[in-house]
Symmetry: D2
Amino acid sequence: MDFDSIDTTVPALGKSKIQSPIRADSEDTRRLFFVSDQDRVIIDINQANLEDRIRRGQKIPSFEAAGPRAKIYFDPSKLRCALVTCGGLCPGLNDIIRSIVLELYHAYGVHQIYGARYGLQGFIPAYGHDFMNLTPQSVTDIHYMGGTVLGSSRGPQPIEEVVDCLERMNIRLLFMIGGDGTLRASSLIVNEITARNLKISVVSIPKTIDNDIYLVARSFGFETAVSVATQAIVAAHNEAKGYPNGIGLIKLMGRYSGFIAASAAIAQQDVNFVLIPEADFDLHGNGGLLDAVEKRLQERKHAVIVVAEGAGQKFFKDKAEARDESGNMRLMDIGRYLKKEILAYFKSKNMDTTVKYIDPSYMIRSLPANSSDNVYCSFLGRDAVHAGMAGKTGLLVGHWNNQFVHVPMSASVGKHKQVSPDGTLWLNVLAATGQGRLKNCVMGLAS
Amino acid sequence: MDFDSIDTTVPALGKSKIQSPIRADSEDTRRLFFVSDQDRVIIDINQANLEDRIRRGQKIPSFEAAGPRAKIYFDPSKLRCALVTCGGLCPGLNDIIRSIVLELYHAYGVHQIYGARYGLQGFIPAYGHDFMNLTPQSVTDIHYMGGTVLGSSRGPQPIEEVVDCLERMNIRLLFMIGGDGTLRASSLIVNEITARNLKISVVSIPKTIDNDIYLVARSFGFETAVSVATQAIVAAHNEAKGYPNGIGLIKLMGRYSGFIAASAAIAQQDVNFVLIPEADFDLHGNGGLLDAVEKRLQERKHAVIVVAEGAGQKFFKDKAEARDESGNMRLMDIGRYLKKEILAYFKSKNMDTTVKYIDPSYMIRSLPANSSDNVYCSFLGRDAVHAGMAGKTGLLVGHWNNQFVHVPMSASVGKHKQVSPDGTLWLNVLAATGQGRLKNCVMGLAS
Amino acid sequence: MDFDSIDTTVPALGKSKIQSPIRADSEDTRRLFFVSDQDRVIIDINQANLEDRIRRGQKIPSFEAAGPRAKIYFDPSKLRCALVTCGGLCPGLNDIIRSIVLELYHAYGVHQIYGARYGLQGFIPAYGHDFMNLTPQSVTDIHYMGGTVLGSSRGPQPIEEVVDCLERMNIRLLFMIGGDGTLRASSLIVNEITARNLKISVVSIPKTIDNDIYLVARSFGFETAVSVATQAIVAAHNEAKGYPNGIGLIKLMGRYSGFIAASAAIAQQDVNFVLIPEADFDLHGNGGLLDAVEKRLQERKHAVIVVAEGAGQKFFKDKAEARDESGNMRLMDIGRYLKKEILAYFKSKNMDTTVKYIDPSYMIRSLPANSSDNVYCSFLGRDAVHAGMAGKTGLLVGHWNNQFVHVPMSASVGKHKQVSPDGTLWLNVLAATGQGRLKNCVMGLAS
Amino acid sequence: MDFDSIDTTVPALGKSKIQSPIRADSEDTRRLFFVSDQDRVIIDINQANLEDRIRRGQKIPSFEAAGPRAKIYFDPSKLRCALVTCGGLCPGLNDIIRSIVLELYHAYGVHQIYGARYGLQGFIPAYGHDFMNLTPQSVTDIHYMGGTVLGSSRGPQPIEEVVDCLERMNIRLLFMIGGDGTLRASSLIVNEITARNLKISVVSIPKTIDNDIYLVARSFGFETAVSVATQAIVAAHNEAKGYPNGIGLIKLMGRYSGFIAASAAIAQQDVNFVLIPEADFDLHGNGGLLDAVEKRLQERKHAVIVVAEGAGQKFFKDKAEARDESGNMRLMDIGRYLKKEILAYFKSKNMDTTVKYIDPSYMIRSLPANSSDNVYCSFLGRDAVHAGMAGKTGLLVGHWNNQFVHVPMSASVGKHKQVSPDGTLWLNVLAATGQGRLKNCVMGLAS
C-alpha cells in the first residue's frame, strides 16, 4: 500500500471547548485516560521502512488515535443524535447500536437519541417510517438477537432529503453503520452539510462481513462469520466423504476479497480448493480447476471446494454488467455456475460424482455476534461516540496495528482491502489445502 | 390407522438354541433382564378402543418387544456380520454403526464385522469398493463426526448380486440402515434369501430424517434436525425483520410429511406460515397464500414462511413425473418456486418486498447427532443386534408407545406416517403461527 | 409398579357447560379434535399383563387423556388466573409460562393473567412482592432466556395465606410449576380450597430436572440437562487424559434417581464409572470403587467418574439428617467426599494421580431449553390450560406411553421414579462403561 | 512499559546456509514471501514517542518478524524434532501440535518428530513414558478434541536429565508449549545446552489461558475462554434474577491479571462487579464490596459478581505462602471465601439472599479451540517451525501490533502483562458494570 498518499487528517466542526462529563478520578488518571489529537498511531510499522523515511526526511504516516477527549464540542444536554444501519445484515449490528446508545446516555448524558428505520429510507418522509426513540431500556437485550432492531435497506436515497431531515429534526450528530455504499453516501452527506454550512457531525462505523475495508484491519462480525462458515465446511466435508467421488461445494461471502473463505479454510482444514477474487483461475485445460478436482478424486475419492462469491467473475464477462440498488456490481452466481460446470465435466468423462452445494450466507449474516465480536463492537461503538462528541466528522472508526483509530472517509472510500497472494494468510491457505497454484492463477493482479 | 390389518409376526430363521453369552448376575436378574417373544407391546392404547375389541372378541394388536433374548440362534464365534448405510445422510448414522459394532463385539463376542462401502454398491464387485473391517478400535470416535464412515449411495443394485456377495463372504447377519428405498431393497433381499433357502438374517434400522416411517413413532436424527432447523428460522426471522416488507422463506426436509417443519415452527415460534404436504393450499385468490402474506405484511411488515420440500407439488402437475435413483418421486423445488411467485406477486402490486431464501438441508443432514439422538441410536443399535443374534429377520427396529419393538418390514414398507390435520401437533402449529386455514386447505386428504 | 393401587380419577370443580371458544372447522374436525373424558390411555401396555387382567376380570388401569374439551367450566371473559414457579431453576420454565399465557389469551380469550413473584412468597403480603401482569406482549421473547421471569424461591409458606390471597384477588385458576415440595403444597392448597368450599382449580406442571416424577415418563428440561451434562463429561475426559493417572470426576443432578447421570454416560461414552442412588456401592475393599479405579488406571492411565448427587449417601449416615427449606432431605456433598477419598487412597498407595472435579449444576439449571424441550413445554403448557379451563383440579399434566395425560396429584405426590437396575437404561450404561457391578452393588434395593 | 530495557536480540545456533525447501513460484514472489532478519516490527507505535526518540537519537526498539527464512540452519532430512506440552490445559494445544507437525512434515520434509508424553516427565526415564511418533496421519483430527494428545504435567524436572535425553535421542529442535514455569524451564534448558556446547534449538510457544504473557498481545485459547466464560455469566445472571436478593458469583481464570474476567464482562454485559488482581478492593466498610452489593440488591434485587482467581489475595496474607509444583504461588480460593463472607454479611443483617457459586474453570480449559483460535494456532505453530528451522533458539513466538514476532525468552520470562487501570479495557468494564471504584481500589499498584 502506498501510505504516503493517504490523507490522514480528520475533519472537525470546530474547536472543542466543553469539559467532558466523563469523570476521571484524579489528575494523574486524567492524563492517562483521555486521548489527545496528538496521540497518533504509526501506520507502517516495518522498522526498515521507517528508518528509510527518517533518512529521507519524509513524514511518518499515522492515524489519529480513537478514544475519549478531555474537551468536547457538543453540549450533551442539548444534543440530538441519530443512528442508522444500512445494507446487508452482519453479526454485531445490535451490539454497535447498544454500545453507542449506552455510551451517549450514561457517559455523556445525551438523552435524545433517534433510530432511523430501514436504512436511509428512515430519513425520507415519503416512506412514512417513524423514528425510534432509543434508550438504555430499549436496547438492553438487543445484542442477544441477530439482525438490526432499526431495520435496514439497500440503495441510495436523495442526499438533500436526508440532510433536510437532519435539519428539520435538529440532529447534530449522525452515526452511520454500513458498507461501501453507505460510506459513499456518508461522504456525500458530509459534503452537503458543508455546502449548507451546517454544524452536523457524521461518524461512520464500517460494516462489511467480507472484512475488506481499506485501511481497517478487522471489521466487526468477521470472526463470527468465519466461525459459522467452518460449520458449512464440516457439513460439505461429511457430504463429500459420504458418497463415491463426493464433492462438497460451499459458496461463502466475499465480493472483492477472500478473507472469509481463506480464514475459514484455515480454521477448518478439510478444504482442498479455495477460490477467491484475488486469485485468477481457469476451469478447463491441464492444471485448471476441473482437472485438479479430477486428480483429487482419483487419489482420495472426495473433494471440498470453497468459493468466495466474487471469484471467477471473468467467466461471465459476456454478460452485461449490472449493479444492485446499493451500487455494488451485481455478481453472477459463481457457486451455481461451478456446480453446473463440475457436473457437466464429470458427465462428459462418464465419471459418477455427487455434488452437494451449500450456500450458508443468510444463516451467517443474521446471527448474533460471538463474544469476540461482542467485545470488539463494544469498543467500536464507544469510540464512535467519543469521536462524534468531540465534533469530529467525515471519519470512520477503524482498527490498525491493534489500535482503534480515526480514518478519514476520503482515505478509505471506494477502495478494498484484499488478500495478498504472497502474504502469510494465503500461504497458510496453500499449506492447509495443498491446492498449489491453479493454472493461470497469477495472483496479485486482481484489482 | 387400521391396526387390524397389520401383520405383526416377525419371521425367524429357526429355533434359538444357543445360550446368550450376555451375563446376568443371578436367576432373579435373568428373569427381569431378558426379553421373551411373549413380551409384546399393545399398539392401540386407547382404552375405549381396547374395551370395544374385548367386547367383540377381537384380537389385541401388538408388537414384539425388542431386547436381548436368553437363547440366540447364531454361534457368535463363527458368525460373520455386515453393515451397510444407504441413501441420504442423517444425524446418528455413525452412532448406529458404533452401537452395533460395540454390542456385537463386547456383548456377544462376534469379531468378524464388515462394513460395506458406499451403500449397496459395496456388495457389487464391479464398483471395486473394499469392505471395511469394523472393530471397537475403529469405531471408537466416529460418533463425533456427522455423515457415515461407511459412505453411502443412492439407487438400487441387482438384488441377486447382493445375495451372491453375502453367500460368497459367508455373511449370515446383515444390518441395513436406510430409508424407503432401502426398506424395499431389504424386503427383496429377504425374499431372495428365502428363495435360495439360505439362513441369513436381515435386520433394518429405518433412517429418515423426515420422521415419516410408518408404525415408528420417532426416527433417529429427527430431534437433531429440528434443533438445527430452528436456527434457520431464527436467521429467516432476523432477515425478514431487517427490511421493509421482509419475507424469510425456509425450505425444510419433508418429502411426504411435515414433521420437521411443524416441530421446528413450534420449537422456534417466529413462523407465520407452515406449508406441509399433508395440507393442500392455493397460492392465488382470496384466502390463498399470497393474499395471506400480503395481509400479514400490511399488519406487521414482515413474514416468515416454512415450507416442507414435499408441499405444494400440485403446482407442478403438468410436468412429467420423474423418480430419482432411489426410486423416490423426484420433487419439484417448491422453495424456489414460491420465491419466484412471491416476488412476481408483489411486483405486480408495486409493493417493495425483500425475500431471503434459506435451504439448510445439507447443513442439517451432515451433522453429528445431538445427545438425545446419541442415546436413542445407542438403544436402536443394540436392539438391532439382539434381534439379529436371535435369528430374527425381515424386520425393522421401531419405537412405539415409548418402547423399542420389532416391526415386520412387510407392515411398514411403502407407507408413510403423516401429520394428522386434526392432531395436537398440527393444532399446536396453527396456534403458534396464527396462520389459520389457508384457502382450499382441506387437510387430511393428503395421501 | 403396582398399577392397581393407583387412583386415576381426576377431581373436577363441577360440570362443564360452557361451549369452548376454540374454533373447529366442522363437525367432522370437531369430533377428531376435542378430547373427551372417556378418552383414556392404558397405563400398562404389556400384552400378557393385559390379557391376564382380562382373564381375571380386573379393571384396566388408565389415565385420562389431556387435551381441549368441547365444553369448559370457566367463563373466559371473567376468569382471573395466576401462575407461580417454585424451587430450583430448570430449562423450560419460561417456555411453560409463555405457552400457558398464549393459550389462555389467544385460544380461550382469558385476559387477566397474573404471575406470582418468587414462588409462594408472591402470595404472602409480608414479602411485599407485586404480581406481574402477564400478556402475550410481555412473554413473547422470554423463552430465549433461561431461568424464570417470575422468579422462584424455596420453602413452604402458610397455606391459609396462599388461599386467602387467591380469594382476595379472585383467582379461580392457579397453575403451579414446581417439584416435590410444590406438589405437596399444591395438594394442601387443594385441600384448603375444598375445606373452604371454594371453586378454585389448581393445575400442576411437575418440574424436576432429575426426571424422577412418579408416573411421568419425561419431565421438561431433562433433555437439555443431559445435553449439557455431556459437555462436562467431555471436559472431564480431556482433563483425565491430559495427566498421568488423571481422574475426571463429575457430579450431576439426581437426588433420588440417576437418570441424568445414566443418560449422559450413554450420550457421551467416555465414562468409566456411573454412581447413582439406585445402586449401592462400597468405596473400600476388593471390588470397591477405589480398587476398581486403581485397576482402570493401571490399564488405561485415566478414568472418568460420574456421580449423581444422591448417590453414596450411606457414607454420611452418622451425620444428623437435615432438610432444606423445601423439605427435601439435605444431601451431603458426595462429589467433594469422593474427591477427598480418592486423593487419600492414592496418596496412601504412593501413586501420583490428578483429580479434576467438575460440578456443572448451575450452568445446566439456568439454561434456556433446547428445541426438543421447547416443543415439549409448548404442549405441556397448552394441556395444563385445557385441563384448568375444564374445571379439573388436583392434577398434574404428565406424559405416559408417549401421550399427554392427567395424573391426580394424589397418585404421584411423595413418590419417585427410579432407574431400574435390570432395565435397559442401566444395562446400556453397564455396556457403555464396562464398569461391571461394583462390590456390594445390590441394585434394585434402593428406595 | 519501559521498552528501552528490552533485549530484543534473538539467539541463533549459527549461520543459516541451507536453501529452504519451501517453494516460491518466482524470484518476485520469493522476495515478497520470505522474511529476512532485517524485517523488524516497531514495538512502540505512538508517533510522539517515536519522534521523541528520533530527536534524541535513541534507537527504535523492534522485534524480529516471524516467518519463513530463505536459508535455514538444519538439514531437514536428518533433523529429529521433539514437542512437549506442559502445565494446565488450554484450548488450542492440539491445534499447535498439529500445525507444527504438518509444517515440519509437508513444508520442510522433516519426518522424525517425537512427542514427549506428560510434559517434562516425558524426558525423564524414571517415569517410563514412551515418546509418541507424530505424523500427519496421527495428528489429522486431533484439533477436534480439547486437551493435549501428548498429555501434560506440572512441576519441574531435573534440567540435566532433560538435556541428557535430548542428546541421547539426538533431538536437535525442541518445541516447548507451556506457561510461566515452562518458560523458566526453557531458559534453563537453553543455558544447559549452551554450557554443553550443543547445537540444539529450543523454541517456546507461550501458553496461558490468562492472556498475561509479557510482550505478547494475545495468547492462544484466550478468545475461546472468554466465549465460554460468558455462558457462566448468563447462568449466574439467570440464577441471580431467579431468587429474591439473588447473587450470582463466578470465579474465572486469572492468576496475575484480569483479562478473562474483564473481557467476559464486556462480552456479556450482565455483570455488576468485576474483581481482578490489578485492582485492590476492601470487603468491609463504607464503599467496600459488601456495602456496594447491598446497595445493588436494594435497588435491583439481584447482583452478578465476577472474580478472577488472583484477586483479593490480600485477605489471606496471614496464611503461609505456598507454591504449587510448577512454582506458581498457590492462590487461596477467593471464590469460596467471597461466598462465605457474603453469606455471613447478609445473615448478620437479617437479609435473605441466595448465593449461587459457579467455577467453570475445567469446563473452559479442556475445550477445543474456537475458529478464531484455530486460525491463530495454525499461524503460531508454523512460525515456531520457521524459527526453529532457521536455527533460532531461546525465543518465544509472540504477537505484537498485529504481527507475529520473535521475542527472546529473556525479555518475557518472569514478568506478567496486566490490565491497565486507566486503559480502555478497564474503563470499558467500568462503563459496562457501572461498578464505580470500590473503596480502597487504588488501581495500578498491583504488581
